[in-house]
Symmetry: D3
């Protein structure tokens, strides 16, 4: 089976326990994650071969990160060891009316100092069928934006499918370029884009519109408004999330193949154990669905939404569910019994 | 006051913390439980004298188990010390759409190697008014199935009331006999059986039916369909559970005295702290109700359902509530205030 | 900016972890709190200058308490160091149908042995604009009831606004006096009283009535029934709490200025992380609102209710939220996103 | 086998974790102990029947205490349930040059309010061969001093052997009587006294001497100096402890039968896990030795010293070792191997 | 670089925290280890390519084990997934005079049901230079003893060096064969044997002798006494361990090349954090030394003893140190400074 | 009383629990510390008024740091809030032969971007009698080196005593300047310098010598060798530390007044709970001694060494002992008893 390659930053995540606020914390749980790594772990759990490309510092925290990658059976053969520090983010987990809060400490991380010409993309893509990246990386530094361009071009050259999760982060993009100066060029090499239309417009400089995602019939028009600028993009997908509060979410999804909008209807999620990485769980589910049952787009979007839903019950950045667990949820078997 | 005797296996329970999946666990909480022990603890908390009969290995874990039994003021005078190991079960506690999962490691446990002729049932039942066992025990090994028969016969001979929770476990019954080969004979010595009609049919080899428990008027007919095969059984009871998801349950109950179906209407339980042992809490509540207010069947079923409901808020296998806490819930006083 | 002074007892709180019952606890989380200290911390977080007056023993637990007070940037210049012990309360945190439970061990605490003439109220109130106390203090001991009287008189003399949270505690008032013998005199020096009308009647010996708080039009009449006995009281406020169960609350509030009842409508709170101190969060929010935007009573009651709501997501006795977090919740932005 | 009865206070012990100071603690480990209960647990572990007499309050902490007593298989049939609160002590565990520190909060505890005439000593001593108490109890309150007298007299009347651990606590004896006013009368009913000669003199008002315990030959004279005042006392014993620092102790013992001093030579203990209760472990070992091998005084003192030594490796107040573990240490088998 | 292959069982280890006894444990730390896996991890940390051959059950605990193997960068390509359960061992960590205690629950584990003919040893050894096994495996079951024979023969056939740690475990060898019936045949295919002469005699049925390891000059004669029965064995090595108590060890080693005894002198280890697996750390160090600097036997034994010494400071079964950390200790740089 | 002012960086410290290596950590204990802050806390515990000058970022971690400073009753009125991040250091706590290890992540911290002209030194020193800084600060950035110069000059101008702990950190000084280019100028304004002569030479560019500190008679000559370059320095002091291993230290000290060397002889410290910050505890003790008993240099050095010794028993960066605890240790009262 050919591999799915993902590229992005992996960070140390320091999260407070028991919904404590930062000001109350006398300890932090230490886990590791990052949007594109999370996608790779999802796929690895679904028994897809994966390769994760990133950069880590050559110190104890870098080596601990490498152990985490290996542990989840994600390929680590092309990981760069350079730079000064591992990016860190602190997470305060909210509850009820109090939202979660993230404090980034990722500037000057090993990943942000990656340079073009150092990663052997051609070898990486030899046995690959899919390449996934996200809008976080080009927001990290101009150097990484250039590596992204290098990567998507190399992928396209090898005939590898390319997907992007737009993942706009307002706290990034601080190096002097706007997303709209960088993303359009990168998106020209993509086959699948995940993100709502608002974000897509924001990151590409197209005039913003506010679509009503519940009006299914109008959706093709909405997506086409954006896609006319990117004729290369074959598919778009959007997580349908309604946040009642930090502990109560509703999760569904839309997949658009330029012809029809496939809908996964919203499912209640309460309580939320950990919502960080739920978008990545959606993305991982979507890629899996498209690979496992090509052209069965309803399966793909159902799988993505159900995987995303399950992620909310799992601590840490990445999803830890099997294909059968996701499929059981699609069938409506909502944890009715204790398996014994 | 005469004692309630229960018989069954007690195991070490190793559960993950904070809803972690097995793959994330670096530690396990260690508690002790088992269906029939849980019933005994419920009763002990309700100030009923109890005696728990089981077998434990003569090693540190066996002795630790004995301490747990003593701590809960449950009689331990007839516990056998033999066999090689204590049964263990691992519990992954689910949340929202992800169900809890149990991994049994109970084969060849001390309990499964119990032999007939070793337990002095006659002495045990001298001061007893009630004997409770469950369908787990005869599913553990043929030897234990024989001990069950020995026990129910001895109980009947002494005029002790006998109750059974059918408790079908698909992962047991692996020693070459089907439940229908074993259970009918055992049930001939019972006065009260807990379990839904489906399970009752499955375990006795009677053709399965799918009753609609909400159709109260039709319930006598449904129970009679089963009870005509077991004229000795005086009472049947069923937990009315609707699982919205792993964190959200609705709990009620039915009690049938061959004449009338007494209903405890469903109560919302959200969030679920720990649902393992909630059926045992129901059973313990039912026995208590029948002993405390004989022939007030509405009280008994209300008490059982409310006790079961409260159990969902308590970590560990067994219920830890008092009579007044259960009665307050029946009265509708749902934790509205902090008692201070 | 002039200070808000609060006076009351601060205790060591020993709470069980993970919703454990007292009988299951092998450890306790140790935090510090008390109704009037909690109000001071709320205000300190809102950037109001505060001074907390209390008494602590001159031992390690007293010194630890002092560190907690300093840490929250609450003034501690007038704290008495005398008496034998720090008051303690044990907290069992409930869930779903099982309510939380408090076990007080506060008799003969340092605070209860405070004497009149030892606190220099005149100096304390020199730079103060507001004094807050609660009905807990006069219930602790007759000596403290006398100190309360000393305080409210001194405050009035200095033209300082005085507020009281009635906070009836049935487990106090054990020194031989009824609230109605003590509270009326104390309330004559108050401008603002927090508490429902039932409690207000109970603590002042006025015949009890059961108002329907949802009938807004009738509310002035209800409040006036009580206020005719206390013409000095300018404002009354009430938390509108509906407890579905221990994990599910609905929180709103009413503010009455003797002319109009200002309503903050109820907001769902589920799940409850910790409800102890939520009334103090309400009080802290109310005082803040009245100071920050004088005469904008709608703002004050909205702020109080939203602060109270957020407190339910925070472990420990006191609220830990900023003005902008409260205002965001008023605007309806209910933790929809992870801030990143 | 006849029972050993012990009488004294059992308290909740709240100890800091990881050698933290009180000022650093955000949680406390919660265990239960008290000198005379600790002796009973030691004996219960040595398979001696025991009965522990005390008083606990009728609240959740009292009931939790009762569970602890039952768990250790110590008899609890004569425990009084009365009074207001459970005594508490806070423990800061030292290390190296920093000693451990205890903060008592035991005033007005249930035990201190025990009254004469409420405990049925005659029934208690019917099946008893030994009664153990300590100098802590008469130091707690005058009422309890009277109960002690009642107890030792009843024991003597029944021909039960009586032992006392002098256990001088400077923070007790605060009710207006000096030990020398109370202890001599109590000691007239004793057969065995544990304590060094200094303490013995201090508690009985005899002029203090400073014996050199290493001068074995002179020891009979030293003990006789004291014993001439108490001709009833048959045996005296002393723990030989040399504290290098909080983590490093040397432990031996002396037993004197009015004829000869039997010595257990000092053994190194490093590191100390928990030294609280090590004297009680010595006492429990001594009573065991005297019961198991009457008149083999060398065995008794060796057993006492080795049990005391092992206690230093065990968290919590009471010792948790078996006869064979103690005997192995006497034989010199100092944990050389991992048993597997 | 050619691989080092190790073969043996990996178990779940459940250890008590904070030196607690089994009877005190309310939770267990969960790690994974086994003698031969521990050797592989040591080597992997020293940057040697490794492959670990074992059998795990196809359940959640088996998969968790696999993640642990991958995480430590140990090859897992030939691991069998079959059988019913993962072996478990419980560890009570001693301190001072109280030794650690192991409770095995490994009967009928997946590993014990391995069968000959299922592992493709020929492929495994194609790129291997070294094969390590231990006396634990043939003690587990007769089936595994046969697999061991299959393995050592295949290794010899491919010219792979074979080492064995005798690792006598009295709690194994329960299937009806004595070590002396099994081990001699297996040892005929070995180049290096680790173990003291006593154990070597015991496991091979040779008359036992009690050598004085401090008499260096006599050592060749001692080893030759044993080796004359096994002319194929080129090297023998022995850990020189003196256990002062559970927290205090002295660690050195001997290596004998049939010509000369190379000695690593004893080094103090105090306190011991975790001594389980320290023999495996010695073995891993020895293999590393022999591979890294062939024929520099002094280096090898120094490296083995220093690695073993460091292991005592590390929690869990396997060593976690780098080549430079071991070499620094050899040079005498004993953690004198905090590296910063 | 006039204040002692200290200036330096305070960092978040993330340390592994239970001696775990970084690669094993799934959580970190979060405390706060820094050399000069640690000195201030020591002094605050000794009841000296203190003011700590530093810079923290205006985010949640910065505010948490501020709470820590307030909690310890250290003045925080001149703390700058600017810059991007709080410096962090990770601590792996060693044991026995394995040393502790620090991983700095402090580049670009708020403190390193402090600028001259922003701190109002003149106001700060108005009520100050002492100023303490260390060689860490000028090693952090050239900007901070300039602030140091600004500070020592302002202190001298105000007649404030100035002390410096040389604190050489090889991982700092990475901005292009050597210590010898910076430190000599800074030291010209100092009265007291703490550090061994080697370090003093290294940091000032003077030819290194290796003094034998045990040769007391030769010490004046050794110190004079260095001091002839810095005639302004009145006093030098050195911690006499001998590291047996990470768990075993010997601690003493030397104080030189240009006339006589005052010696505190070495005291054993075993086991070490936490040695980070022990030098700061020495410094804090020394300043205290010089202030409390001016010109009693023996007292000062004894106090410094004993405080340092006690610090090894305390978790976290800063010392938490009282004057009486230090003085008791000087008197030789080494934790012989449990205070009760």
């Amino acid at each position: 089976m050919k591999k799915v390659v993902t590229f992005g930053e992996i960070m140390l995540r320091l999260s407070t326990e028991r919904h404590l606020r930062f000001s109350q914390a006398n300890s932090f749980l230490a886990t590791y994650g990052g949007s594109e790594f999370n996608v790779a772990v999802s796929l690895s759990n679904f028994k897809i071969n994966t390769e994760f490309v990133t950069s880590i510092p050559n110190n104890e925290l870098g080596m601990r990160t490498l152990e985490e990658i290996r542990k989840k059976n994600v390929g680590s053969h092309f990981i760069q060891k350079q730079g000064k520090r591992l990016g860190v983010y602190y997470l305060e987990t909210g509850a009820a009316s109090r939202g979660s809060s993230v404090l980034y400490d990722r500037e000057d991380s090993s990943f942000t100092t990656l340079k073009t010409g150092t990663i052997d993309w051609d070898t990486i893509f030899k046995n690959a069928s899919w390449f996934h990246w996200s809008g976080i990386s080009p927001g990290a530094s101009e150097a990484v934006a250039n590596v992204c361009l290098e990567a998507v071009k190399a992928a396209k050259k090898r005939g590898v499918k390319v997907s992007c999760d737009l993942n706009y982060r307002s706290k990034l993009w601080s190096y002097g370029k706007e997303p709209a100066e960088i993303m359009p060029e990168l998106l020209r090499y993509n086959d699948l884009v995940l993100g709502d239309i608002d974000t897509a417009c924001l990151m590409t400089g197209i005039d913003k519109i506010n679509p009503d995602y519940s009006n299914t019939k109008a959706l093709p028009q909405v997506y086409n408004y954006f896609l006319k600028h990117f004729p290369n993009i074959e598919f778009m997908a959007t997580t349908l999330r309604y946040s009642v509060n930090a502990s109560h979410q509703k999760i569904g999804g839309i997949f658009y193949d330029k012809n029809k909008a496939y809908i996964a209807s919203q499912r209640e999620v309460i309580p939320v154990v950990d919502r960080v990485g739920s978008g990545d769980a959606f993305m991982g589910g979507l890629i899996y669905g498209l690979i496992a049952k090509p052209y069965n787009f309803q399966y793909a979007i159902d799988f993505a939404a159900a995987a995303c839903c399950l992620k909310h019950s799992i601590s840490g950045d990445y999803n830890l569910v099997s294909v059968s667990e996701v499929e059981n949820l699609i069938l409506g078997n909502e944890a009715a019994l204790v398996a014994r």
